[in-house]
Every structure is written in structure tokens, then in C-alpha cells.
Symmetry: C2
């Protein structure tokens, strides 16, 4: 990916007319704030001396340690609104002092032991798609910080088609993983919006959740076991067996650990045959409440869609699910809340699950819109982050965040968050457009994903920091989780105590102190 | 439950003719070894002085601290073969020095802090159904040991029918929980063989798995959050939200922790409406391999049975699934491997899932036996442990154990375990009858549950200790887990290092040292 935008320069798109018009209507005039060229970026000095760089090269091999601007700059930030603004506000960017790329667990272990001895922080780097400050090269109390790129952990190993398991290198991107599995007729089926760039290790370290989660589960549910390298040694967490009662489940301690306990290098995953058939159908509900009741019924009755999503009235009206047509009024569609469904599996399975789901949705007040809206969504489903870059260039405030709660608490939490963000941005005289959808459903609740559009003020970082604080307060005060699938990183770390309690934090610290006594692993992330 | 047998005296049954005949055929003549009456049992002295007992009463309230034989003896052992033999070999039984029954989290906290200060070990006690030595009152390095009975944590709280959640006291037994939920039209659906006596807290602390796991999942999958009391304080583990990416999942650290990190006092559970319909169908497969392939296909295609079980050839021939008729030759049934299926839910759901599953099983070589065998199994499904008492009285070696592995490794592991147990008991000139079934299925593998019948020699405890060691070695050398749903307790603790590795054990110890610095919580369990 390019350092300052989502994806590559080739993917970049100018603002569409419809999106321009939407911005004009809800945000008003804006002052462009374009991203700088790479050559213009001012960066921190390299804090490592020649002897240290030699030591790193002795561990990783010649050519796998770099202090070049072109390597360090793209690994200095993820893709949060804060990250993207950082490039635009003309400051000196703190970049990692070096980028290193070990190729084996033994090299990673040697590296971590060297870092512990040398007081150098280590930040693991996969696809760099974090939207919570997860890859920022924080030095903490250390002399230097290196970015540990997992790109050389790129192999598929030990494919077991009978059991539906395969081991994938943590550095493999979503497409690399699916291509490698497809050679065996297998699929993982994990398709978050970050899919084109994010990696297997990153999915596990952040408890990612993909758009097909109704069918295939969250990423953490796909993990059978993991290889993890800590300063104390190399370990496998998770049992060889499909389930066990032999004590606590240690892999659940490393999933979501964001590289603060160890570096995840390989992940053994539950995979399935490539589905032979697919079906699509979109529906519209008169309002969000009836739509939520219906998707809840679908999940609680296990009627079996692979994808089920429900946009609220405002998101439905802005056509957000169709990235090419955002802001366009779809005059053919009835007003209300758009619900997209998709079904995958054998032909028989798809037919029965589609019929059961459709009957239940219709019974609960839906009107069918046919398959076209779902196909349009599927085609453009990884495209939305690219649009944000053009909005940011135009000086528009644009960010997303997500939470989850129990079904009974959905109206309460949605209302509280909408009020918090509107009030926080209103204080600065911005007008906030707040869009929301449900994209991950569980028997006992669902996720709520918000997209915010507004006017940037002169200090956009402080502006959003203020809004984000209000949002997090509203979430924790109204029984939401601070993050459903974007992880904690630096952005949510201050709210971890509200999330897991003081004793919970104490346990996490005890584990970290045990595995990483010098504290070099990704300091400043996850734990406050 | 009575101290020396499964269940109550009223439930006890003499050996049926068919079972007697089976024993005669495969085991030969045996020497009766009856359990003693309670009055005959010799027990350890109470190590607590009057001041200590007064302190305990000040915490729990008058009447909730007992040093009576009738209270201490039944809390001295669980229901493993070792436990049941202990009563029969005429030794002094180490019983807890006192039984205490606090009623609130605050009382439990005070108790744990008193115990830490007084160097007294604390063993949590629910239903006492452990079959792995989980409730043995080990003193470790402490002056005394108390049994903490959770019976007063017996309330249902905060029922949320919309989200399908309810909080249950850790001391509620399976039937108490289902009755309390039924008043709200809800069901948990967790039916392990221990259901009549085992408790909600015990299910969580041991990662229990019930017979309906294909439909409702393992108990750990039903848990939304838990209240846990540690010597460091009271905490809630698990998020209020249905899913979260806010760091490691701490509830996964307490499930399976067997009271060694803290006392689980309340569990918030995912529940569902009482199913409106049920369907039953039994099948027979020509052999175990074709049966395993078929139940694997059912799970991997998610055709949706609530129960699916497959007995191997020997278990099918001994009619083990029908407790009233074990050992009887069912002349009507074709030879082969018996497969039982059951379906629950709405009428439409049951009809479609039944049809899909049945079509797939028939396609894969099954012959239908109609619904009678499943109904017989359902009626007697909690009855098998009672039979063991009569066998033990008759001097027969009878024990069960279980493991799990990936589908591709099932034949390899089953063969290795069968060889290990046959060889270990053969050495002592016993003849071992080894029965096996699959009762829990996952996309990537399944459980294997073994029942062993043989002749006791003169030192039956040492005889089974030797066999158990061989079994555990075979399991760990052939990629099984040391326990799929019976937990670790004292019986498997020595194999925890093989299960989770040295670094894994180190993490568990770090957590324990942090939460229980004096180590008073259930010493000798889980960790070697």
C-alpha cells in the first residue's frame, strides 16, 4: 500500500459527482488538505548505530534489514483517520529506525532476545491496515524501535483436506492465503474490508471479523492453533484436537494480543471446500427496528445465510453499500432499511438456507429487492476505504468505528452513540452525518458499524480526538464493547480498564511481564 | 449424591442378567468388593481449631460451617474409578477439615482472604461429579483444607429473552437450571451424563460438553460472562457484548481453570427458547470407518442435527446405548455401527434438518433403524454411571475416558489407545473389553469416548494407575488431547506439560501467582 492512502496509487479515485454533491449538502464548503508526496515527508532520525544494524543483519540475513526512507515511511502508520491526517499536517513523522524481515521462528526469537538485551522496541507489521494505531512505532522507554515485517512467513503447510485444516504463514495477505488454499480446492472465507492487504497474523492478533461471518464465523473461531515467538521462547498455542477440556484455552490469550505478548508467525486454520453455489437476495424493511428484529430471528433460528447485513435509514438513503453510487438517490428502491443476504455451499444447502431465510424475512415485514443490490455490494465491497482518501484530500472529516451489544440493547446503544458524536462534532460547528449498519450477527447480539462524515476544523486531529473520546464514553456507559473487530491499538488503550476491569488488566500485565520481561513487544498498544 | 456411588441409594440397581452374563463372558469370575457403609469409613482428623472455625462462621453465618462426618465424607471424593475404589480399599480417607457455604461474592472474597492469611487450602465443590479427582481435598503445603460448597449460589437473575441470556448461580444443578429457565420459556440445552447432579459452575470450570453439543455447542460456547472471586478481588470476565476485539478473551482463561485461579460464582449464559418439536432416527453403518466418514460429512455440511453419536462395532454389539439392555443381543438389528440422531427446534427447522441429515447419511451407506433406538437411548441416557457401581461391587474394573482429535487422525488414535489399554491390562492378566463412540463432532474433528471393562486384580488402584499412564502416553504420542470434556483434575495434571508445553504451563502459573499469591485455591489440581 502507499504510505498515505488506502491501497495503491493506481486504486485511487477522484470524488464522484454524487459523493461531491452529498458532501456539499451535509458538510458544506471544505478546505482541501492533500497528502504530501513521499519525498516531502520529514521523518525522525535513525537511532540505531552501525553495530546494531550489523547485529540485526547477522540475525535476519543480508538484505533483510533496511533503514531506507522508502521502507521506513510506509511502516510508520496504519490507516486510521488519525494516521492519514498525520501525513497531512506537516509534522516530523516518527518512523521505525529500521525495518527487519526475519524468515524463521528461530530468527524471530534471536531478534526478540537481542531487542530485550538492547532495549529496542519491536513492532510487528503485516499489511499495515490497522485503523486503531496498531502499527505506530512507539518507542516507549526504549532507545530505538524496529518494525518486524512478517512478509517472509508466506508459506502454506500441512494441508489436511479431510479435517479441513491448513497452516498459513502470518505474513500472507488475504488474497495470497485464498490463492494458496484454492490450489487444494479449499477456502478460508474471511473477507473483512481490509482483505486485499491485511495478513493472516494480523487477523489473529486483532480478532478480525469478515463480511461472511454469519456463515464462517469470526477469524478467532477459524483458528485451530498458532505458533508464537516470545522473548522466552517459541510456543504452539491451541490444541492439536478440535476441542479440549485440558485447562484454559491459551490461544484465546494470544488472539487479540496485538503483538504485545509475542509475535504470531504461523496460524493453523479451519478451512472448507470452495462453495459450489451462491445465491443473493436483497430486502427492504420499513424501519431499522423491524429490520433488527428480523435479522435477529434469522440468527436465533439458524436459518443459515453466509452474509446478512442491515443498513439504517440514513445509510440506506445514502446508498453506502454501493461504492460507485454513494449519495445517488436510487429512485427505484422503496424507502426504508436495506438488508443484504448471501448464501454459499452445496447447491442443496444454498437452496434450503435461502428459502428458509427469505420466508422468515418476508414474514417479518421485508419486501424483496431481488439480487442486484447484493451483487453490486459484493463487487464493490473492498472499495470503500479508497473513497475516504479523496474525502480527506477534500478536507472532509470521514471515519468509521464499530461496537457490539446484545439484541435488547441495540436501540439504546445506537441512540447514545449517535447523540455523542453529533454533540461532540456539533460543538465545533461541524455537521455530522451518522450512518450505521449491522454486519455481524450472533445468537445474543450484533455489531453496530458507524460511518461519520463532517467538516474538518482547523485542528482536525484534536477535533476527532474529542469526538472519539465522547464516542468511547457513550459506548462504555451503554454496555457496548470498545471494539467489535478493529482491535485496541493505541486509540482504545485508555478504555481497556473499562472493558476488562482493573483485575483483568492486572492479568494481562502479569502475562506480559512473564513472557516479555523487558517489555519490548509493541509498547503502548493494547494496555494503557 | 451418596458418598460412595453415583447418584442416590434409591437410584442404585443390581447387575442385570444380561450385564452379568456379559461380565462372565469377557471378565470371568470376580471377587466382590462392596462399598462400606458411611459409619464404617475412617476419616482424617479435623485440623482446624475452634478459633478458626469461629472465624469461618463469622464469615459465612451460623449454620454454614460444618465439621460433621456426614458433611465432610461426601465432599472428600468425586466419582472417578479411583475415587470409588478409595472407599472400598479400607484406608483412612483424607476428608476436608470443614465444609463451608458462603452465600455472596463478598463472603467468598472474605473467605479466600482469610484462607490466604491462615494457610488453608480451599476446594470449590458443586455437584461432586468430577471423574478426574477434581474435588479431592489436597492439602498441598497448607495446614488445613476446606470444601467451599456453592449450593447457596442458586438464583436465576437478569433474564433477557430477547437476547437469549440469563445469569445462573454457579451452585445450580443441571435440573435446577433448566427448571428456572423453563419458567421463562427458555432452555440451556446442556445435557452431559452428569446433568442430574453437576452444577453450572462446575460445567464452566471444567469445560463440560453435553450430549446435544452438535446443536447447542460445548458449555464454554454457551458462556457470555462469569463472576469470579479471587483472593485479589471480585471480577467479571467476558464482555457484555456478544463478541469483542478488545484484547484477549479473559473468560477463556477461567473456563477450564478448575477453581485454581478463582471461584466461579455466577455464569451468564446464552439460552434459547424451549424447542417446539423433536425428531429421532437411528441408523446403522457397515463399519466404523464408513460411519465416521458420514458423521464428518454431516458436520462439515452443517446439515444440522442436535445430537449425533456413532458407536464402534464392539459398543454397538454390547448394546451400550440402551442401559436396560446392555449385553443383550438385539437380534433384529443388523451388525455394524449404530448411529443415533436427534433434531430439535421449530417444526419447520426439525423437518428440514432431519431430511437433509438423513439423506446424507443414507447416501453414505447408512440403513435406517427408525426412531426406537434413539428414544431408548434418550430415556436411559443419564443412567449408565449407576451401572458402574454394581460392577464395582462385583469386583469388575470399569472406567471411561475420552479424548478428541482431527478427523484424519481418528483411526490412528483409536488404534493406539485400544492397543495401549489392552496391553496394559493384559500384562496383569485381565482381559479388557474396549468400547468406543463418537459423541461430539466439530468441522475439523471429533471426540472419542472409551468404556473399559476388565477384571480387577488384588491392587486395583495400582492396576488402573498403570493402565491410565499407558493411555495418556498413547494419547499424547498420537495427537489426541488428554481430555475432551472431563477436565484435568489430579488424574491428568502430570500430562499438562505435554498438552500445553513448558511455556504454556509458565503462563498458567504466572496467572495463578498473580491472582492467588498464597496458592490456596485448589492446590494439586490442573497444574502439576
Amino acid at each position: 500500500m502507499s504510505f498515505s492512502i488506502w491501497g495503491s496509487e493506481q486504486e485511487a479515485k477522484p470524488l464522484s459527482k454524487s459523493l461531491q454533491s452529498l458532501v456539499g449538502k451535509v458538510v458544506g464548503n471544505t478546505t482541501p488538505r492533500p497528502a504530501p508526496a513521499l519525498a516531502e515527508v520529514k521523518i525522525s532520525e535513525c537511532a540505531l548505530d552501525a553495530a546494531q544494524l550489523e547485529a540485526l543483519e547477522a540475525i535476519c540475513g543480508a538484505g533483510y534489514v533496511s533503514t531506507e526512507r522508502e521502507q521506513r515511511i510506509p511502516r510508520a502508520r496504519g490507516k486510521s483517520y488519525f494516521d492519514l491526517l498525520d501525513w497531512r499536517v506537516d509534522q516530523v513523522i516518527d518512523v521505525p529506525d529500521a525495518v527487519v524481515a526475519p524468515k524463521s521462528n528461530e530468527q524471530v526469537l534471536e531478534l526478540l532476545q537481542w531487542a530485550s538485551k538492547s532495549s529496542v522496541a519491536v513492532v510487528p507489521f503485516g499489511g499495515g491496515t490497522s485503523v486503531v494505531g496498531g502499527v505506530s512505532p512507539l518507542r516507549g522507554r526504549f532507545n530505538a524501535v524496529i518494525s518486524l515485517d512478517l512478509t517472509r512467513f508466506d508459506a502454506i503447510e500441512d494441508v489436511d483436506s479431510i479435517s479441513g485444516e491448513a497452516t498459513l504463514g502470518a505474513g500472507m495477505s488475504g488474497p495470497q492465503a485464498e490463492i494458496a488454499l484454492a490450489e487444494h480446492g479449499l477456502q478460508l472465507g474471511h473477507f473483512p474490508q481490509s482483505f486485499p492487504y491485511a495478513t493472516i497474523g494480523g487477523f489473529a492478533a486483532t480478532r478480525s471479523s469478515g463480511q461472511n461471518s454469519a456463515g464462517y464465523g469470526r477469524f478467532d473461531e477459524m483458528v485451530a492453533s498458532m505458533e508464537v515467538v516470545t522473548p522466552q521462547g517459541i510456543m504452539t498455542v491451541g490444541d492439536a484436537a478440535p476441542a479440549s477440556a485440558a485447562g484454559p484455552d491459551l490461544k484465546e490469550l494470544f488472539m487479540g494480543s496485538e503483538g504485545t505478548f509475542g509475535i504470531i508467525t504461523k496460524v493453523r486454520l479451519k478451512v472448507h471446500p470452495i462453495p459450489e453455489a451462491k445465491a443473493y437476495e436483497a430486502f427492504v424493511f420499513p424501519d431499522f427496528a423491524s429490520g433488527v428484529a428480523a435479522v435477529r430471528a434469522v440468527e436465533q433460528h439458524k436459518t443459515g445465510p453466509t452474509v446478512i447485513r442491515l443498513s439504517d435509514e440514513i445509510e440506506s438513503a445514502t446508498n453506502l453499500t454501493s461504492t460507485d453510487a454513494i449519495g445517488e438517490q436510487d429512485t427505484a428502491a422503496p424507502h426504508g432499511c436495506l438488508c443484504l443476504t448471501m448464501y454459499e455451499g452445496t447447491r442443496e444447502h444454498v437452496a434450503s438456507r435461502h428459502e428458509e431465510t427469505r420466508n422468515l424475512l418476508l414474514e417479518m415485514g421485508a419486501t424483496s429487492l431481488g439480487e442486484a443490490p447484493v451483487r453490486k455490494w459484493e463487487k464493490g465491497r473492498f472499495g470503500a476505504p479508497v473513497l475516504r482518501d479523496a474525502l480527506l484530500d477534500a478536507g472532509v472529516l470521514c471515519e468509521t468505528f464499530e461496537t457490539a451489544t446484545t439484541w435488547s440493547n441495540v436501540p439504546n446503544l445506537k441512540k447514545a452513540i449517535t447523540a455523542a458524536v453529533t454533540e461532540a462534532l456539533g460543538e465545533g460547528n461541524s455537521v455530522a452525518l451518522v450512518l450505521c449498519h449491522v454486519s455481524h450477527v450472533y445468537a445474543n447480539g450484533c455489531s453496530l458499524y458507524f460511518t461519520i462524515l463532517g467538516a474538518q476544523d482547523e485542528a482536525p486531529i484534536e477535533q476527532w480526538r474529542h469526538a472519539k473520546l465522547s464516542i468511547l464514553r457513550a459506548i462504555t456507559e451503554h454496555n457496548g464493547t470498545i471494539t467489535h473487530h478493529h482491535a485496541v491499538g493505541t486509540d482504545h488503550a485508555d478504555f481497556m480498564q473499562q472493558e476488562v476491569g482493573q483485575l483483568g488488566l492486572g492479568i494481562l500485565r502479569a502475562v506480559k511481564d512473564h513472557l516479555d520481561p523487558q517489555g519490548v513487544l509493541n509498547p503502548g498498544k493494547l494496555l494503557p
